[in-house]
Symmetry: C2
Subunit: 317 residues, 2 copies
């Protein structure tokens, strides 16, 4: 439009976010001076719903573990040996079941550092045009479920969770095979909210899992990766500039939301560069993130260009 | 030795035993006359331990189910959606955990038809030269575990059990992936003792699993296959002939044991041909049945030939 940019722009491309960004943090630390900036803009977030732009001011953190329960040295005949020793798959199931209770996480101390939702957040989220039934229909789920005392949006955005991400043991093919498995594995992750610490929650969960492991099996807990939860202030000039830019592109003011996903680099940028991040992604809830056939709407690609151009102007002002 | 057999011999070869013998029962029923006989000899059992021959007079039955828990229509991002709906893998773990309690099966009615162990069985088994530590070392297990109030041999041979044979859900590769799985599956089998009925136990287990399934997911229970438990009388001429034949081959009298595995055709033969089976297999507990690198000792192959020749003579007498 103008032939030159109204502010300096540095571009940082990250390709390891889904495996915990093992190289990004050291890179940012080593290049603190080159990366120095006033404001960071990240595109990895979503509209509240189609054509309702959003500024994401909160992200969950993550603790990702793998629980391995080992019994006999090889898979055994379940008839000849069943009933005489602990079955690692049964033990794994019991240990997973002991991690939650009635929609809450049952790991002692898990909620100790959770910052309660603010009254104004709960009020604003309650006003959002969110149909729980349409949400459930969209993902094909029969019912909502989770921590009692919170709405579905509150649980997704503002409350910590524990989910099994994968299970693997014994015979997994079609039909039947009568083995007593040598080993059973679960991928187990917890999404964290401010002011929980990923390191502390990983320690609490690991200690808890070890404490409930029966002596009849051997239990290993692998620490896959983690990330810290984030809350960004809704005040300040950069935030106002972002709101104006979104309004220019969409023809309506953005809503302020949080997100259940994790972007650990937001925390890294804050710690290393002392700069806040603007989360201005234009994804949609039904884009199929992390699923087969993921997409991004062309219409929102054009809006994104409009928003970014406006944002640079707004920040220059 | 003699140039002719002292009794008539009919040979029946079964190749589908591990998948529940779907064709054998109809075959036996249709060929009842051709198969008519006084005594049946089956080789699918074991010595009590190396060089201690055994006659197996009891076998467990089987009910084999697959439990499928379905949630959202596809795997979802566990950050964006976690905490808002039930996770099928967590639900599966809870349902499995609810199937056992302290080494006992927790399905209501499961023990109703169990025939208690006889006093003489418990006495004779207690006299057997069985080292629990050597047994555990052999299979690489840390400890014995199972139903309270019974010895390890009693649990293996004479008490019903429930084992997970396989688990499968979500992400099962190396490392981490943050999905909320669409589906979780468990292979689940129960070993039965007289007078439990495979059909009845399958029904009880299916009804129980449906009753504990939360309304937040959909649950399917597949019936893979089953078989009836068996007890053979230790009395009679055929049993005495078998004992003599084993003694001739091994130079010592056999012990009388039961087995935790299942040979459903024993029940079929009894029902259709009205003949008892002699279980005279010469396998060893550490042959690795159903495991990689299964074996059969050559020495026992030769003893088996000796035993079978003697048995035909004994039966003819």
């Amino acid at each position: 439009v103008r032939g030159e940019l109204p502010v300096n722009v540095k571009v940082l491309i990250e390709g390891e976010e889904e495996i915990g960004s093992p190289n990004l943090k050291p890179f940012v630390t080593e290049n603190r001076k080159r990366l120095a900036c006033d404001t960071i803009v990240i595109a990895d977030s979503s509209q509240f719903q189609a054509d309702v732009p959003a500024i994401t001011y909160g992200l969950k953190g993550l603790s990702y573990l793998e629980l391995i329960v080992r019994g006999p040295s090889v898979d055994l005949h379940s008839g000849s040996f069943g009933g005489s020793i602990a079955n690692p798959a049964n033990v794994l199931a019991e240990m997973i079941a002991a991690c939650t209770k009635g929609g809450r996480v049952a790991i002692p101390g898990f909620y100790d550092d959770v910052k309660p939702l603010e009254a104004w957040e709960r009020e604003e989220w309650a006003k959002l045009d969110f149909s729980e039934q349409a949400y459930l229909d969209g993902i094909g789920a029969r019912a909502a479920f989770g921590e009692p005392g919170y709405t579905t949006l509150e649980r997704r955005w503002g409350r910590p969770t524990l989910d099994v991400n994968g299970l693997y043991s014994g015979f997994t093919g079609q039909g039947a095979k009568t083995v007593l498995p040598a080993e059973a594995r679960a991928k187990l992750s917890m999404r964290l909210v401010p002011d929980q610490s990923s390191r502390k929650i990983t320690e609490l969960a690991t200690r808890y899992l070890r404490s409930i492991a029966p002596a009849t099996v051997s239990v290993e807990v692998l620490d896959h990766h983690g990330g810290e939860p984030v809350l960004v202030s809704r005040e300040g000039k950069a935030m106002a500039a972002a709101a104006n830019a979104l309004e220019a592109a969409f023809g309506r003011a953005p809503v302020f939301i949080r997100e259940g996903g994790s972007i650990p680099v937001v925390h890294t940028f804050k710690a290393e560069l002392r700069a806040d991040s603007l989360l201005l992604g234009l994804g949609l809830p039904d884009d199929g993130a992390h699923s087969p056939n993921e997409r991004f709407r062309i219409r929102d690609f054009h809006r994104g260009a409009h928003m970014m151009a406006t944002l640079l102007d707004e920040l220059a002002r």
